[in-house]
Symmetry: C2
Subunit: 210 residues, 2 copies
Amino acid sequence: MFDLKVFLDSAGLGRKVAKFRGKETVFAQGDTAKNVLYIQEGGVKLTVINESGKEAVVAILGPGDFLGEGCLAGQSVCMATATAIAPTTVLVIEKNEMIRVLHGEHEFSDRFIAHMLARNIRVEEDLIDQFFNSSEKRLARTLLLLARYGAPGLPQKVLPKVSQEMLAKMIGTTRSRVNFFMNKFRRLGFIQYDGEIHVNDSLLSVVLHD
Amino acid sequence: MFDLKVFLDSAGLGRKVAKFRGKETVFAQGDTAKNVLYIQEGGVKLTVINESGKEAVVAILGPGDFLGEGCLAGQSVCMATATAIAPTTVLVIEKNEMIRVLHGEHEFSDRFIAHMLARNIRVEEDLIDQFFNSSEKRLARTLLLLARYGAPGLPQKVLPKVSQEMLAKMIGTTRSRVNFFMNKFRRLGFIQYDGEIHVNDSLLSVVLHD
DNA sequence: CCCGAACTGTTCAATGTTGGACATTTCGCT
DNA sequence: AGCGAAATGTCCAACATTGAACAGTTCGGG
């Protein structure tokens, strides 16, 4: 398979590597945007804060994902804050280098296009979810998606540690609402938890039923 | 400037052209997805319908935009319905042709990447808007964006014809809510209308204020 | 110029959601 | 073990939103 790291090395781009521990800020909303990052290991959450200080989680990214691509489209400042949610290693690619390589290297631009297409589909799904569904359904969907995080093949049903507060910021509601539904889901046997959260397939019924 | 149509012609891709009149369906949610389309003239709206028959407008696309790119990422059926909102001409590019040209032609892949980046930024903004803002603010934002439709330079403040029903589907709320706010905006002098809608800059205050 | 279809204006009860507050539990740390 | 911080459980009044109904208006076409 195509190994981006090896490729970038040979293109002389893989040299700048940055490492972050959990909770460290990778870049902050408002920073000048001049690099594109590529996640090698770990995970990053993208959050946005509005004028009144409310926070929203826009995306959770993992190995193989790019972030900061906005600068390629001319965004001069970062629209979101990127925070490591685990020990994380990223490749740092300077904007103009990125443009040069995207233009020159087929394999690389193919890969990047695939990433953008996937990301776009995901964000569109999130938007549609937000349009159609109540917070209860959005929570159920988010839990199901998280439960498969990092294991697209096998159904793994244990979540990485996520607080109710964070869930609230992911689906765009309040913590008390999340708490209410988590208890409801537990009462109905859709999930269990005690430190770790276990998601049951039966939770799907919440998303599916009218 | 780079003219995509001329380029596609010389690559032997510009031959398949399709034309639609207003309200005609370009493709429907559930259709098998095998082509990427490029809008030359006109405009298209993308809508999604959920199980209970509720409809949402996901995007409004114009000349220079691609649609149906989801198939490149492996989506085998269309996730949305595309409907012409004006007399429209599109280039039809078969999926595998698209992949071949994306891989082989720098200028073309650059262009496509730019489109995906822009689209992504827009959808992300819509998602954030949905997270943070009340339906009143979302309506105000949508009106302001529409008022500049097709004229990024000069501030043009007259909307293309959009019904309150359609506005409701764009911001994810009900018609009665849209009606309520439209009247409020009019009462406050933020907009005028009588067939055509005129958007005042003062409407910005609705979006900006806490 | 009249009809029907599409759009707009208006109302309201039922429901969903927010944004607090406060008590309780869990967790990491020394 | 004991402290403080973080996370969870619970409650509730104020507020926003839905969904449906019905009347009035505009508009295009026969």
